[in-house]
Symmetry: D2
């Protein structure tokens, strides 16, 4: 049974801010780095070339909820799962933990596109080589919600 | 009647990526810059000092939905509204337009905290000087949703 | 007589680090933003198109010397001058001041290149439309040196 | 005989720009990450606490010279050496190679400081625990120079 894809990442100095903790935008770098490392682990790339076609994956939406702050040099464990797989879109979710405790959860939805001869992006079915591998990494979706409904 | 707070911002070279368009994480810098400029326009700061207390506003959650890509040197108009004002939290929303057309919409919820003598953050009511001014910038909340339910 | 090109820039929250001051790499964003704004002020762009040729300006070298730290929300004045103008390279220098006092000085040397039909970059003379305008912004070069020789 | 400290680092998507190659400022992140990882390998941190004193290492100057561009997903090998060790300053140098070929070289000089009771930074001798270990990593200084004098 396939497990989630996991990546360890240390919080770098430049990712902190004057509040002494990690900047909230850094999680979006962590998500993207994990997504791309995941694709490489499948023998693929986010710049995907198949049968003379180059696929791209522009972002449709993203979100992140923060539970507790990370400090400089903390090691965060990022766990990726495929939460939804559409014909031409993918939703990845990410659980961030540090020393076994959740620090944040995030989500990124991407479209699958190809560029026509003028370079204009248009929606495309996900190439089958990728789709089949993503299915194997499908996981139980995480829940997100407005601050009022979150149990924190 | 108070209008939304607006800031113009040009897409810088370092904010693009090899896809030739703005990187999706740049919107989180835009949101924060607009929030902080808004607070300065009220004579305040995100590092808020009142009656010997220093308030901070760590992020609880954030999200962004993308409609169309921005290019290098595009000028984006960022419009901030206060979508929800709690006793100790604030939700800002942002509408990004370029040449009159929506390019993205985003949201940031922040907690109001003070640090105790050990430096530990704890929830605090929003200081009244800020709360009263935020009320004047309350706006109709934007809607967000999964890609499948968005009308685009 | 032409003066240096000047740009004002405020230090943003995300540009600080846990030391409570601006991160040293932020100056390289400031230099690039000032260079690109300068080119726009000439009616040009760092992505320069002239007579069906697209010119690019990859960086050859850069340096920065720091005199005193900038804080969040400080306003820095960036002054650009053209320190050296070669046949196919340009050296820009930047003096950073805040409240009239030098905080840093920096330098960026760029090559002028075109891409051949395979996309490979090769050195090119600076297009004349740009070269003539750069000459008008030539300024006395700043001095740089190892920490031991700097007068600070 | 001690060898240079080495770190491998992959070029991430967000570190590229619309020219399709790595942004020139990314090297300053690479240098800092390598410096901090090097200090951790010595059992130390850039936030160094010894005998109730906290030392900091603000940057005095930095430079980088670029030989050839890195692409997305390239792996770069960063090699750190201690090029100069003063009483209260350190100069680190960095050789960047990819597939055995130099792509860039860089340098960062830092001051050793402590903060007084008002939080003002003042120069301090490098604590002996660090100085002795840095000596063991001293290496032949790299040469830098204006583009005209570089042999490339």
């Amino acid at each position: 049974m396939p497990s989630d894809y996991r990546k360890e990442r240390r919080v770098e100095f430049s990712e902190t801010d004057l509040a002494g903790i990690i900047h909230y935008s850094s999680y979006f770098q962590f998500m993207e780095e994990t997504e791309h490392e995941f694709l490489r682990s499948l023998g693929l790339s986010v710049q995907l070339r198949e049968d003379d076609t180059t696929y791209g994956f522009p972002r449709l939406s993203t979100r992140c909820e923060y539970s507790r702050p990370l400090q400089f040099e903390d090691v965060v464990d990022v766990e990726l799962r495929v939460a939804r797989l559409g014909r031409s879109s993918i939703t990845y979710q990410f659980l961030f933990t540090s020393e076994g405790e959740e620090v944040a959860r995030g989500e990124v939805s991407v479209a699958c596109v190809v560029r026509d001869s003028e370079g204009v992006m248009k929606s495309s079915p996900i190439p089958s080589s990728l789709a089949s591998q993503l299915t194997a990494h499908a996981g139980e979706p995480l829940t997100f919600g407005p601050p009022s409904s979150r149990k924190r």
